[in-house]
């Protein structure tokens, strides 16, 4: 495979819950993103996928959270060690990010154009406002926004959700970043718009050779977009493999549960299957395997020993005591 651009090693993030207590939100998270790769991070709400994404750009508030262990190597440079100023150089330029809620991720009091121009001018102090404005129009064209000159003068509330997400994508890609982190980029959109936005992302990704870290809870989106998939549960990576392996030979019971809960139009499904229960809160993590409270295959050993993430076959990592034996 091609060059590795991002390498996350044993990342651990803790949240401050009171003056003395910290809770571990994610732990032992390791993965790699290659040039042009789309890595999907999947899991339920509260599994730590957004925390992982925000941590890469160090966007979590420093007063309440802390990267307590691990490295985030971007071209070999550890982002954890960078000063705030150095980090700002990376944000929006080398790595940029789009968010779930296009309704709220643009500032309501500024015009679309002003928000885009601000991005260019933050990166390049010498760029004139006029030049930045033209570049922004060009970016809006690239994301298929009709009559971009007019849209530049609109305020966010005058655009639809899908259009706003396009604006976010245009803004995020304006510096041609090497990595785009997309945190549930289509979750808040209706299904038809969702497909358009995904297609647009894929097309731009191919044109610009950008790698994408795609965070989603939707296995359908993963199937359509991702090259590699990382499944997270309760702050840990539970399975990590390329997309065909994940869909054809899922090994972790949680991954299998996620796949079983997918609706399929081509089969008679009967009753939709679901994984019973919810992710336990950080303060009430069970002993042993974190999934043991919901696992259909749970055995005595699972309640005592926490499993490690093991490579059970080449490029297929699973965190389950019983895997390899099943």
């Amino acid at each position: 495979m091609s060059e590795v651009i991002l390498e996350v090693e044993n990342l651990q993030v803790k949240f401050r819950v009171s003056k003395r207590d910290m809770l571990t939100a994610i732990q032992d998270v390791s993965f790699r993103v290659h040039k042009k790769e789309i890595l999907g991070i999947v899991g339920e709400s509260g599994c730590g996928k957004s925390v992982t994404a925000n941590t890469i750009l160090r966007l979590l508030p420093s007063q309440t959270s802390q990267i307590s262990n691990g490295k985030i190597l971007f071209h070999g440079q550890d982002l954890v060690q960078l000063s705030n100023k150095e980090m700002r150089q990376i944000r929006g330029d080398k790595i940029s990010m789009i968010f779930q809620e296009p309704m709220t991720s643009l500032n309501p009091v500024y015009r679309i154009g002003d928000q885009m121009v601000e991005m260019y001018r933050a990166k390049n102090k010498h760029m004139s406002k006029k030049e930045a404005w033209q570049k922004a129009i060009h970016m809006l064209e690239m994301v298929d926004i009709p009559s971009p000159e007019q849209r530049m003068k609109d305020y966010p509330h005058q655009l639809s959700g899908g259009m706003r997400q396009r604006v976010m994508i245009a803004m995020a890609l304006s510096a041609r970043p090497e990595l785009l982190i997309a945190d549930e980029p289509t979750t808040a959109l209706d299904v038809t718009i969702q497909a358009q936005v995904l297609q647009l992302m894929k097309q731009l990704q191919e044109e610009m050779d950008t790698a994408i870290l795609l965070i989603t809870h939707d296995m359908g989106v993963v199937a359509e977009m991702a090259d590699t998939v990382m499944v997270m549960y309760a702050g840990e990576v539970v399975e990590y493999a390329d997309v065909t392996t994940i869909f054809n030979r899922p090994l972790h019971p949680y991954t299998r549960g996620l796949l079983a809960s997918l609706t399929r139009a081509d089969r008679d499904m009967g009753r939709l299957s679901s994984i019973e229960g919810t992710v336990p809160p950080l303060s009430q993590m069970p002993e042993g395997c974190r999934f043991n409270t919901r696992c259909p295959d749970c055995q005595a050993a699972c309640k005592e020993k926490a499993p490690a993430l093991l490579e059970v076959e080449p490029n297929h990592m699973v965190r389950c005591l019983r895997c390899g034996k099943v």
């Binding site: 925000n54 750009l57 966007l59 007063q63 705030n84 700002r88 150089q89 990376i90 944000r91 929006g92 330029d93 940029s96 990010m97 968010f99 779930q100 809620e101 709220t104 991720s105 643009l106 500032n107 309501p108 009091v109 601000e118 991005m119 933050a122 990166k123 305020y155 509330h157 005058q158 976010m168 803004m171 995020a172």
Partner: protein, 316 residues
């Protein structure tokens, strides 16, 4: 935008009329009329009393008297002061300037102090800094204003002799510097009282906005922290702060009446107190209506500012 301004203006008219009715009816319902005062002072034959009533227009029904009063007022005629026999307008006119100077300076100073304090408190919530500013805010808001004023007068004017205790200018005249010295105490008293609300409002709105996703977007764009705080957080937080300023304008005006009285400030507030003591109804009504109109105008301005700040209002 023009439609919005027009709508606001039209809404202000009935409000103003209701205020005039309330002022007129309340003044008339209060016991004691100028005639009673004159009667108490000396002998008044029933005929002379009746003549006086006709002369003062008190023989007509309340509704008619209201309409006459309103009509005259809209033509700039507020009647005659029963205390000094001068036209009310000439009495009130010279008091408007000093009151404006005092209230506007107080408002500007409160905001200049409270907004930065609120911002700092919001950037480090629950820090020592936040606790201290909260404490000051509550202390200022909960200590009776007249008490603080008297203590300040005693310390700074009487004991230390640093600041003048009365009036707007020294008796030997003075320029801007002299005015500024006279402003220090009354303005400080108002600032102490008003500050708390603004500090708390600023802190609260800033904290609300900080959690918005677009603030994260701004950081993810690689903008500097200063730009994020001022351009993205404060700019949005200003919207509720501005409406809070609007809501507090009546308290600002009401409070300055007390302040003016204590510091002998030659404004409308002290004239109002004097007129109330003398049952000089024409002056009382004129000042009340003027203050109400001023509050209406300021609120109109606040609404316009609000529309300027929030494109959702401006463009709908």
């Amino acid at each position: 935008m023009l439609k919005y301004i027009l709508k606001r203006l039209l809404q202000a008219i009935p409000t103003f009329l209701i205020i005039t009715i309330a002022v007129f009816v309340l003044s008339n319902a209060a016991p004691g009329s100028p005639v009673d005062l004159i009667k108490a002072a000396g002998d008044l034959t029933p005929e002379a009393e009746q003549e006086l009533r006709v002369q003062l227009g008190l023989d007509k029904p309340v509704a008619v008297r209201y309409l006459i009063w309103l009509g005259d007022m809209l033509h700039g005629d507020f009647g005659t002061s029963t205390r000094t026999n001068q036209p009310v307008w000439s009495l009130v006119q010279e008091r408007i300037g000093p009151t404006l100077v005092l209230t506007l300076t107080s408002l500007v100073c409160s905001l200049l102090i409270a907004i930065p304090l609120g911002i700092m408190a919001s950037l480090r919530p629950y820090s020592i800094w936040d606790t201290v500013s909260s404490f000051l805010a509550f202390l200022g808001a909960s200590t009776p204003n007249f008490f603080v004023a008297l203590v300040a007068l005693y310390i700074f004017a009487v004991k230390l002799g640093l600041l003048p205790s009365m009036g707007m200018y020294s008796s030997n005249g003075g320029g801007l510097g002299d005015l500024a010295l006279h402003l220090v105490l009354p303005v400080s008293i108002t600032v102490i009282r008003m500050m708390g609300t603004y500090i708390k409002q600023t802190r609260g709105s800033m904290l609300d906005v900080m959690n918005e996703e677009y603030v994260k977007t701004a950081r993810a764009k690689g903008l500097g922290e200063g730009t994020v705080v001022i351009k993205h957080i404060l700019r949005n937080a200003l919207i509720p702060i501005v409406s809070c300023i609007g809501l507090n304008i009546p308290y600002l005006v009401g409070g300055s009446t007390v302040t003016e009285q204590i510091f002998g400030w030659p404004g409308m507030g002290s004239l109002l107190v004097l007129s109330i003591n003398q049952r000089d109804y024409n002056v009382i009504m004129a000042i009340t209506v003027l203050i109400a109109a001023a509050v209406l105008v300021v609120n109109l301005l606040i609404d316009l500012l609000y529309a300027y700040l929030d494109p959702k209002i401006r463009l709908d």
